[in-house]
């Protein structure tokens, strides 16, 4: 994945493409996410993500038709609000908060620099940490999100790579947050589903950042 377009501005279309790519990734990986959520969770993460991001794309389509998507901030704020009001579970409020915070940071501008989007992501991940109380190493989505924003300086592709490595790095961890924590030692040896979907979300970002 090349970063040739990482300097290009982010407008509402590009933000929508990110959400569309995320929806595709969640749909394609629904079964895998649910399988990961079975041994250490309750087997609903794939459905939650697919349902949530599909709701996001249709909410964005409607808002676009009505001319409400005046900038990338509006897109991501609506995406976050939609996740909160359609997903449920732990992941709905957490991902919803993440995207809403990104959107809030981007504000009302019609387009923003990639660095502003990066700033937004940092704020978003802070929001996730504040809401969920998880730290790196607790075997949650934070284990993918935090390394990703830490790598943002080197571009979105690097962030996506870091998220992937972070997700894979959850395998040996013992969970301390979320449903997997109930298993204690038995949570070891399984990859965290939320960290995996976080890597998909960052992957979709890198794809859109690099391809346009």
């Amino acid at each position: 994945m090349s970063d040739r377009n990482t300097e290009a501005k982010w407008d509402s279309n590009r933000a929508r493409h990110w959400m569309a790519a995320a929806a595709r990734a969640m749909t394609d990986n629904e079964q895998r996410l649910t399988e990961l959520d079975s041994p250490i969770g309750d087997a609903d993460h794939g459905g939650n993500m697919r349902r949530g991001f599909q709701a996001v794309t249709s909410a964005l389509d409607s808002a676009q038709e009505e001319g409400q998507l005046t900038g990338p901030g509006a897109v991501l704020t609506l995406a976050g609000r939609t996740l909160i009001s359609k997903v449920g579970g732990a992941s709905g409020p957490l991902y919803g908060t993440l995207l809403r915070r990104v959107g809030k940071t981007l504000g009302d501008e019609a387009e923003v620099d990639p660095s502003v989007l990066g700033e937004g992501l940092r704020a978003g991940v802070e929001g996730v940490v504040k809401l969920g109380g998880a730290a790196v190493g607790d075997k949650t989505m934070v284990d993918a999100l935090q390394p990703a924003v830490d790598a943002l300086e080197s571009g979105f592709a690097a962030a996506s790579q870091a998220a992937l490595r972070g997700a894979e790095g959850t395998v040996p961890l013992r969970a301390r947050k979320g449903r997997a924590s109930y298993l204690g030692e038995r949570s070891v040896g399984h990859q965290d589903p939320g960290a995996t979907s976080a890597a998909l979300l960052l992957g979709a970002l890198a794809e859109v950042a690099g391809d346009e």
């Binding site: 079975s38 309750d42 579970g89 709905g92 409020p93």
Partner: protein
């Protein structure tokens, strides 16, 4: 496992349509997934709202009615509902006396109910919250998301519901709910896993001749796997786990709960062993409820909840209740 469904996507909506047809005394908003008493809001009464992932029926929708909940919000299977459902429910049932949210302690439920509480308060509804966290199988609470809310939820909803029905104000109803919540302990055992419609296959493997101790109600595996045990041995292990955490004094309420696929015949037999195990350890039970109340789809197994009562909570437990899932008194 085969399922009596159309497609996984419509399972919750289909069930709500079926509930609406069977229970004219409830008002079921299928589109927005809110079940309320048809006569809500009840003037002057504090309203109780609960909810959680579907798959635990009759909890919570089956506990809506006079003497218990005013509204329930069913999420997708094993997925907590969304704040919109809860705020909508709160607005529908609030008579001005305020709303108590009964929340089972899961990250998703807590986050969504907290968001809903903020939104509802913005809209002028007075909201209190009680957290149910009764599952002693979750140890080292500091390194986990904390104890899960399971069978104790029934006691909280019933007893706080009775207090609200009698006209207690919000702070009193919330205080009683918290007291009951703190007085409940649960422990569950699975003989077979369950199958969610979306996954279509068991959530974990449990070979013949083995069982899981300390399971939750979401098809998650337990803390320990053991060779198959008799009903008496399971009762001993379960009672020991509960009493090690808290030794209740009289009066004690007991819920001998089936996880969904365990026949009532077996559940009553298990109750005989539970009563034996309790009385051998000096615990006298004042009331026992046996049945499938807080289930986990088609899981075979059982859980035991003990609730330390006092004269007042015992009286509220005995007070009339009229819901699809729990009914007694005038």
């Amino acid at each position: 496992m085969k399922q009596l469904i159309n497609v996984p996507e419509t399972v919750v909506a289909d069930a709500l349509r079926g509930m609406a047809a069977a229970h004219p005394e409830l008002s079921v908003d299928v589109e927005n997934r809110v079940i309320t008493r048809a006569d809500a809001p009840v003037a002057g009464k504090v309203a109780l709202v609960s909810g959680g992932g579907s798959g635990h029926e009759p909890l919570h929708g089956g506990f809506v009615g006079p003497g218990m909940l005013d509204a329930a919000c069913p999420g997708e299977v094993f997925t907590s509902p969304v704040p919109d459902q809860m705020t909508r429910a709160a607005a529908a049932v609030d008579s001005g006396a305020g709303v108590l949210f009964v929340v089972k302690n899961y990250t998703g439920d807590v986050l969504n109910f907290d968001m809903a509480a903020e939104l509802a308060e913005d809209e002028g509804v007075q909201v209190a919250r009680v957290l149910v966290e009764d599952d002693v199988a979750v140890t080292d609470s500091t390194f986990t998301a904390g104890r899960r809310g399971t069978g104790g939820t029934l006691f909280v909803e019933k007893i706080a519901g009775a207090a609200a029905q009698e006209g207690a104000p919000l702070d009193r109803v919330a205080a009683i709910a918290r007291q009951v919540s703190e007085s409940c302990r649960s422990f569950g055992v699975a003989l077979s896993p369950c199958t969610t419609p979306a996954k279509g296959s068991p959530t974990f493997e449990l070979p013949a001749g083995e069982l899981e101790l300390g399971i939750g109600i979401h098809g998650e595996p337990g803390r320990e796997r053991r060779g198959m045990m008799t009903s008496g041995e399971i009762a001993d292990a379960t009672v020991d786990a509960l009493l090690a955490d808290r030794m209740p004094t009289a009066p004690v309420l007991a819920l001998v709960n089936g996880m969904g696929a365990t026949p009532l015949l077996e559940l009553y037999g298990f109750n005989a062993e539970v009563q034996r195990a309790l009385s051998e350890r000096g615990v006298v039970v004042a009331r026992t409820l046996v049945g499938n109340y807080v289930t986990s789809l088609d899981m075979a197994g059982c859980s035991l909840t003990l609730c330390q009562a006092d004269e007042e909570t015992l009286r509220l437990w005995d007070a009339p209740v009229r819901t699809p899932g729990l009914r007694w008194g005038a």
